[in-house]
Amino acid sequence: MRKLALLGIIAGTLLLGGCFSDATTTNGTPAVKPATEQVVLYYANKDATKVVVEKRDVAPDKKTMQNAVTQLIAGPSDNRTHSFFPKGTKCLGVVSKNGVATVDFNDALKSVKTELGSGEQMLLIASLVNTLTEFQGVTSIQISVNGKLLKVLGDFDLSEPIGRSDELIEK
């Protein structure tokens, strides 16, 4: 019976995606369902000048780094904010070692070169690193495409692991 209830929550989360994630929390009061955990996601603000935080409740077994990145790609629930990722981008996996999370994507990520300016490429990195460093033990990230580590993403230097940026978060 308990398993069934948990399945229900997972199915609900999957079905609703980001669209109605606010339904499970109310500002300032505890989550209605204690069986959920929070992920903290960072999206683009309207004009792509900063990243904006969005907190979502997910079933505990959905609180993985790969799911968080998949939700970053899928986009925010609020239409005043935006995903930084090009259409068709898929997160193929996240591996964390010694505090460095390596995020693997498919080829579609490379179209940031024709879709984004340099500043927006930097904010894409900020949205990714800020989201993943919300997970305990992760302090920086690297990016790979089909398993091959990137040295740059567009104009952005990725020659060493990139740490979190709080100065790019919209307050």
């Binding site: 792509a48 024709t114 300016g117 340099s118 930097m122 302090t139 230097d157 060493e160 740490g163 979190r164």
Partner: protein
Amino acid sequence: MLYKNIYINLLIFLLITINCSFVAAAVHVSGAGQILVNHVETISTVDVSGNAKLRVILDLSGPYVSEYESVTDQFGTDVSVKFDNLALASNIDHTVKLDGKVADSVNFAESIDLLKIDLKSERNRFGDAVVTVVSKTKTAPYRIIIDLPLMVVSQSANISSGLRGKKIVLDPGHGGSDTGAVGPTGITEKAVNISIALQLRTMLINAGAQVIMTRDKDIDCSYPNSSDVEELSARVAYATKYKPDIFISLHNDAFYNRDSNGTGTYYFVKSNQDARLANNIQRDLIKCVGLKDRGIRKANFYVLRNTKMPAALVEVAFISNVNEEKLLTESAFQQKAAKGIFEGINDYFSGR
């Protein structure tokens, strides 16, 4: 009401007491009351804006509850952190050599009930160390984390008024097999970038400057369909050969939201000159083109961090915005943009 408060305070006090006795018990169990450092890890990282820091991670035998003190010397080249009741496990080296990007080495000095950790650099200056004591997790032991930020040393630039004899690299972004961003009607960033760069070149040459272009036509700087890093490193290598005074990369911006608009300039802090260069260009460019001011911002961009001289990356306008895409194709607008950057460069050399 008063009783209720007292009750809550009492409860908090009890909780703290329980917590403390639990921690104390744990310390006692671990041995002679002294915590051991079982493993040392150092990682140098840079954040999204290019701020570098060194992180020293100490894996501990138990929870650390004692006092510590961090001292930075007057020159900022030597930081030491003293930890009470901490000692090194016998297999840990007393010196860890580093790559020198932030610090040259980490040294451990032990005395009774005290461990002193020294971080030194021959050429860099540090900010104050930030010490974080971290609880055990499912995958990691109790830890002490020391973060040491790198500070930038001020550098005198080759500044003297006027552009005569100044060596300036212009780097029109993208080109050849790389279109850069593409506007709503198909205008490419590579074409707009070079149009503005060529007009800027004429202005600078007329003022007596020596101008080096990473490309002066629609080509790849390395070879067609090269990797992104090969292309960017070819530009930096070419520019570096000439030992220029400044490096200016010309770009245009793009975002999915077609309403996004305006002008922005990016820099990487290599000395105290980079922000000044970006600021002069941004201010004068806004004056000339009159678009929304998106300001200057630090960024970990390849061409900015890998060039030795002061450098700026200019995003003139949003090619993804219908109005600004149209403006970018107009010769009069390109002229205004070139003039704005020209004035900014001129103001930079005049020491403004």
